[in-house]
C-alpha cells in the first residue's frame, strides 16, 4: 500500500470495522433463522405426504381443481376463476415456510429478517466506506468483489421480500452462504486498499461490472432455488412412489414450497436476468472495443462469460422445448451457475495474467 493519506486509511479502517460488524449481525440473523426452523418443526405438518397420498387415491375422480383466491375475492359476487394445473403435474401445496405455521417460529423468522436488514445496511456502509477510501468503485480486487457481491445478493433477497414474493424460505440458506463468502473475503482474500490496475477509465466499465455483479447475485438466488428444487423433488418422488423419507427431510423439506413452485421460481429468476446478462456481455464488448480496439478477443474472462451465457441459453432452451423439463433442466442450470462461479473465481485464480496454463 503506497502513500495512502490519513483520511483514506481512516476510511479503510471504518470499512473493515463495518464489514466485521455486519458479519456479527449476520451471525445473529443466522441463529434467528435456525430458531425459526427449530421452533417451526414442532408443529408436524406433513402436507406434502398428505397431498401426494391423497392424490394417488383420488386419481380418476374429480379433476384436481384449486380455486384462485387472489384478487377476485374483493368483489364477492363476481365470478371466480378456476385454475387447473397442467397435465401430469403433481398437485402439492407449497410448504408453510420455515416457521411451519408456528407462531413462535414465525416471530423468530421475523426477527431474523430484521437482523438481515440491519446486517445488510451495515455491510452496505462497509462497501461504501471502502469505495470512498480507495476513491473508486469497490470492485478492484477479489476482496472488494466478494463484499460487494454478497451485499447485492442480500439486496436481491430483501427486494423480493419487499415485493411480497414468497421467498422467506431462502433466508437461512442465503445468510449461511453470505457468512461463508464474507469469511473467505476477510481471511483469504483480504487486500489492503490499493490502486486499481491502471485501468482505462470508461463508464462502460462501470456499467459492465455493476450489471455483472447484479446478474451474479440473481443467478445465485436462482441456483439456491434450483438446489432446493432438486432436494424437494426427490423428496416428493420418494413419497409418491411409496417411500418414507427420513425425519430430517420430513421436517425440513416439507416446509419448503412445492418442487413445482421452486422450479418455477428458479426459472423466472434466471429468465428474468438473462437479458441483462446478455447486455452485460455486450457492454463489456463495447468497452473492450473502445479501450483495446477489438470488441471480442477470446480472452479468458470474455470466453467464460460467453460460456456462461451459452449454458444459460441451453437451460432456457431446455425449458422451452418439451422433454428436458424438471431435473435435467435443473442440472443444466447448476452447470450454468458453475460456469459463472468459475468465471469470477476460477479465472482470477487459475487462469490469470501471464500464466494462463499454470495450475491447470
Amino acid at each position: 500500500m503506497t502513500l495512502a493519506t490519513a483520511t483514506n486509511e481512516h476510511l479503510a479502517n471504518i470499512s473493515n470495522t463495518l464489514i466485521y460488524s455486519s458479519m456479527a449481525v449476520y451471525t445473529l440473523a443466522f441463529f434467528a433463522y435456525i430458531a425459526e426452523w427449530l421452533f417451526g418443526s414442532r408443529s408436524k405438518v406433513g402436507r406434502t405426504a398428505a397431498a401426494l397420498t391423497a392424490d394417488t387415491k383420488a386419481k380418476g375422480k374429480a379433476p384436481a381443481v384449486t380455486v384462485n383466491q387472489g384478487g377476485s375475492t374483493a368483489v364477492l359476487e363476481r365470478p371466480q376463476v378456476v385454475v387447473r394445473s397442467a397435465a401430469g403435474a403433481r398437485d402439492v401445496p407449497d410448504g408453510p415456510g420455515a416457521h411451519g405455521g408456528d407462531a413462535q417460529g414465525d416471530l423468530y423468522g421475523r426477527i431474523a429478517i430484521s437482523l438481515t436488514v440491519l446486517a445488510f445496511l451495515v455491510e452496505l456502509g462497509g462497501v461504501i466506506a471502502r469505495a470512498a477510501s480507495v476513491e473508486r468503485a469497490p470492485w478492484g480486487n477479489m476482496y472488494e468483489f466478494n463484499i460487494t457481491f454478497s451485499t447485492v445478493a442480500v439486496a436481491v433477497y430483501l427486494g423480493l421480500l419487499a415485493l411480497k414474493k414468497n421467498v422467506r424460505w431462502l433466508g437461512l440458506f442465503l445468510v449461511t452462504t453470505v457468512l461463508l463468502d464474507l469469511g473467505l473475503a476477510v481471511t483469504v482474500l483480504y487486500t489492503a486498499s490499493d490502486q486499481l490496475v491502471p485501468a482505462l477509465h470508461s463508464y462502460w466499465l462501470y456499467i459492465h461490472v455493476s450489471t455483472a455483479i447484479f446478474c451474479g447475485a440473481v443467478f445465485y438466488v436462482g441456483a439456491v432455488a434450483t438446489i432446493l428444487y432438486l432436494f424437494k423433488d426427490s423428496y416428493e418422488n420418494k413419497i409418491a412412489t411409496g417411500g418414507t423419507p427420513g425425519r430430517f427431510a420430513n421436517s425440513v423439506l416439507d416446509r419448503l414450497p412445492a418442487s413445482a413452485s421452486l422450479d418455477k421460481f428458479a426459472y423466472r429468476v434466471n429468465a428474468a436476468v438473462f437479458p441483462l446478462w446478455t447486455f452485460t456481455i455486450i457492454a463489456g464488448a463495447i468497452w473492450a472495443g473502445d479501450a483495446w480496439g477489438r470488441y471480442w478477443g477470446w480472452d479468458p474472462k470474455e470466453t467464460w462469460s460467453f460460456i456462461t451465457w451459452v449454458a444459460y441459453a441451453c437451460y432456457l432452451h431446455a425449458r422451452a422445448t418439451a422433454g428436458w423439463k424438471g431435473r435435467k433442466a435443473a442440472y443444466l442450470a447448476m452447470l450454468a451457475f458453475g460456469c459463472w462461479l468459475f468465471n469470477y473465481y476460477g479465472v482470477n485464480i487459475f487462469v490469470s495474467g501471464k500464466h494462463s496454463y499454470a495450475g491447470v
Partner: protein, 576 residues
C-alpha cells in the same frame, strides 16, 4: 377431441384435448421421434436436415459450443500471445505436439470449433425460416375458436346473466379489442389472442444472432490493425509502409485502407498527484489535426484513451505514450549533424525510459574521419535524489536525461534488422572522461555534454512527447452492434411477454337464461393468465351482471355445454 376423453388430471390440458384451440400458440417445432429413413440419398439428406434442425440437436450444438470454448481459455493461444505458446511447446514438447495437431493453440479458428458453430448456424437458419413462415401464417389467420369444453382450460370462469347472448358477445368483442387482443366473433364465442410480440421478439433474437455471427466473421476476415508511434509535431498517413507493425485478416487487401492522415500537435497526460492512487493516469489526450481522404480538409480533434477517432471503418486509438527528448549533436567542427526528437520506450508506470540516439551519417570525429555515433539514453521524467535509477512520477516534473555515447560502426548496414531502441555494441567503443572512466552524464534540459578531445557535443534541448496510435479497421462492427441490441430487445420480448388466448362463449341455456363462459390459455402455466381472465371477467360481468338465481361462481357446477352449439371448431378452421 373426443367427448369420451377421460376427465382425469393426467390428461387435463394436452393439445389433443384442445384441438385447434391449443395449437400454434408458439412457433416451436414439433418434435418427432427419430425414425430411420429408407429412401436412399434424398431420404438420408432429409433425415439429416430434420435432425440438424431439431431442438434436441440445437441444444446439443449449443452445449458443444460452450464445451469447445473451454480449452481456448486454459491453453495459451497464438492469437493472443504467441510467445507464451512457444514457451509452452518448449516446456512440454510431446503435449505441445498433440495440442498443435488438434488445433488447440488456435481453438477459435480451428476446424472442429468452426464445424460446431457452422452447424449451429445452419441449424439456426433451418429453424428460423420455417418458424417465420409459420408465424406469418398465424398472423394472417385468426385465433382459433373456442374448444367445446372450456372447463378443460387452465383458467376458467362462468356465470349466468339476464343479457342476451349476442349482447354479451358484442360486449366481449369490444372489451377484448380495447385491450389490444386480436379478437373476432367465431360462432357462439369470441376468440381472442394477444402477445404476438413474444414471437416477434423470439424470431428477432434468433435472426439477430445470425447477423451478429456474420458480422463477427466478416470483421475477422477483413480486419486490419497497425501501430504507429508519432512524436509531437510529426504526422502519419494511412499507407502500409508507414506502420511500425501491421496485421490483417485473410481477405484484407491494402486497397481497403481508409485514406486518412493526421498530425500529432500535442499530447497531454495528467496524473493523480496524491492519495492512494498517486501516479494513476487521470487523463491521456492527443490533440490531432487530421484529414479524411486524399485531399480532405484539415480538422482538429482530441483523441482520448477510450475515445478513438473514427473515420469511415477506421478507428484511431491512443494506446501508449512516452517521452522523446529533443537532441542536437554537433561534430568536431561544430556542425549540426543530428537534430531530432528521439522516442524512448517506457519501462514502468512512472515512465522511466530507455532508448538510443543513432547518428548514422554526416558525423566526423576530431580527426575528420567519418564515424557513426550511438548514444544510450536513460530518461527519468521526475528525478528525485536518492532514487537515481527510476522515475518517481510519470509527469515531466524534474526531467533528467542520462547519456552514454559510443562511436564506431553501429552495424545498421549489416542486413540484420535492428531495433531502433537498441544499440549493437559489438563494433563501437565508448568515450573516456578525464579520469579514464566510461563517459556518461546526466543532462537537464538545455545542458550540453562535450565529447572528449573535441569530438563534438550532444545537447538535450528539451522534451517532446510521443503517442502510439493503433489504427484498426474492423468492418461490420456496426452490424454487430445493431445485432447485439436487437438481440437484447428481442430476448426481453421473448422472455417477458406472454402469448395467450381468451375465449368468451355466451349461449342460451336450457332454461332460457344466458350462460357466459370464459377461459384463458397461456403458452406456459403462468399466474398472469388467470389474473387477467379474472379482470376481464369482472369488467364483462359488470356489463352483463349475473342473475339472482346464479349458480355460477362455481367452476364445477356449471351447465354442460349444450348440443345446440354450432361446430365452431370446423367453422374456425376455415377462417384462414
Amino acid at each position: 377431441m373426443s367427448k369420451t376423453a377421460p376427465d382425469t388430471p393426467d390428461a387435463s390440458v394436452g393439445d389433443q384435448d384442445l384441438g385447434a384451440a391449443g395449437s400454434q400458440l408458439s412457433t416451436a417445432p414439433v418434435e418427432s421421434a427419430p425414425n430411420l429413413p429408407s429412401l436412399g440419398v434424398i431420404g438420408w439428406a432429409r433425415w439429416f436436415w430434420r435432425q440438424l434442425t431439431s431442438m434436441r440437436v440445437a441444444l446439443l450444438l449449443l452445449l458443444l459450443v460452450a464445451l469447445g470454448a473451454i480449452p481456448g481459455s486454459l491453453i495459451p493461444q497464438t492469437g493472443t500471445d504467441a510467445t507464451k505458446v512457444a514457451d509452452f511447446v518448449k516446456k512440454n514438447p510431446t503435449l505441445g505436439d498433440v495440442y498443435d495437431k488438434l488445433g488447440l493453440f488456435h481453438v477459435y479458428s480451428s476446424v472442429w470449433f468452426s464445424a460446431i458453430y457452422i452447424l449451429l448456424f445452419i441449424s439456426l437458419i433451418g429453424c428460423i425460416v420455417p418458424r417465420t413462415w409459420q408465424f406469418v401464417g398465424q398472423l394472417r389467420s385468426r385465433p382459433p375458436g373456442a374448444p367445446k369444453r372450456l372447463t378443460r382450460l387452465p383458467a376458467y370462469t362462468t356465470w349466468r346473466t339476464g343479457a342476451e347472448p349476442e349482447q354479451v358477445r358484442e360486449a366481449a368483442l369490444t372489451l377484448l379489442k380495447k385491450r389490444h387482443f386480436r379478437a373476432h366473433l367465431a360462432g357462439d364465442n369470441v376468440a381472442a389472442e394477444k402477445g404476438y410480440l413474444r414471437e416477434v421478439g423470439n424470431l428477432a433474437f434468433h435472426i439477430a444472432l445470425i447477423v451478429m455471427l456474420t458480422a463477427f466473421a466478416w470483421g475477422q476476415l477483413f480486419k486490419s490493425e497497425g501501430n504507429k508511434l508519432v512524436v509531437e509535431g510529426d504526422g502519419f498517413s494511412n499507407t502500409l509502409t508507414q506502420y511500425d507493425d501491421f496485421k490483417s485478416g485473410n481477405l484484407f487487401d491494402t486497397g481497403d485502407l481508409v485514406p486518412l492522415s493526421f498530425r500529432l500537435n500535442k499530447f497531454t497526460g495528467t496524473y493523480e498527484t496524491s492519495g492512494p492512487n498517486k501516479g494513476t493516469p487521470r487523463l491521456y489526450q492527443a490533440a490531432l489535426t487530421y484529414s479524411e481522404g486524399a485531399y480532405g480538409k484539415d480538422r482538429k480533434t482530441l483523441v482520448k484513451v477510450n475515445e478513438p477517432l473514427e473515420i469511415g471503418d477506421a478507428k484511431v486509438y491512443l494506446t501508449a505514450h512516452g517521452y522523446a527528448p529533443l537532441i542536437t549533436v554537433r561534430d568536431g567542427k561544430g556542425k549540426v549533424v543530428f537534430h531530432d526528437a528521439v522516442a524512448l520506450l517506457p519501462l514502468d508506470s512512472n515512465v522511466t525510459s530507455t532508448g538510443v540516439i543513432k547518428v548514422l551519417d554526416g558525423y566526423r570525429n576530431a580527426k575528420g574521419v567519418s564515424e557513426q555515433l550511438g548514444i544510450s539514453a536513460f530518461f527519468l521524467p521526475t528525478y528525485t535524489t536518492g532514487s537515481e535509477t527510476a522515475s518517481t512520477f510519470p509527469a515531466l516534473n524534474n526531467p533528467v536525461l542520462n547519456l552514454t555515447p559510443y562511436h564506431g560502426d553501429l552495424g545498421v548496414d549489416s542486413g540484420i534488422p535492428q531495433s531502433v531502441y537498441q544499440l549493437d555494441k559489438s563494433h563501437v567503443k565508448d568515450f573516456k572522461d578525464a579520469k579514464g572512466q566510461e563517459l556518461r552524464k546526466n543532462l537537464r534540459p538545455g545542458q550540453t555534454m562535450q565529447l572528449p578531445n573535441g569530438a563534438g557535443s550532444v545537447t538535450y534541448e528539451g522534451t517532446k512527447q510521443w503517442a502510439n496510435f493503433q489504427v484498426v479497421q474492423q468492418p461490420a462492427s456496426g452490424w454487430a452492434l445493431g445485432g447485439a441490441l436487437t438481440a437484447i430487445f428481442g430476448l426481453a420480448a421473448s422472455l417477458f411477454i406472454q402469448r395467450r388466448r381468451v375465449w368468451v362463449r355466451a349461449v342460451r341455456g336450457d332454461d332460457g337464461v344466458t350462460v357466459v363462459e370464459m377461459a384463458g390459455l397461456g403458452r406456459s402455466e403462468s399466474a398472469k393468465v388467470p389474473e387477467e381472465l379474472g379482470e376481464l371477467a369482472g369488467v364483462l360481468y359488470d356489463q352483463s351482471p349475473g342473475t339472482t338465481a346464479d349458480p355460477g361462481a362455481r367452476g364445477t357446477a356449471r351447465p354442460a355445454p349444450t348440443d345446440s352449439q354450432p361446430t365452431n371448431e370446423q367453422s374456425e378452421g376455415s377462417a384462414k
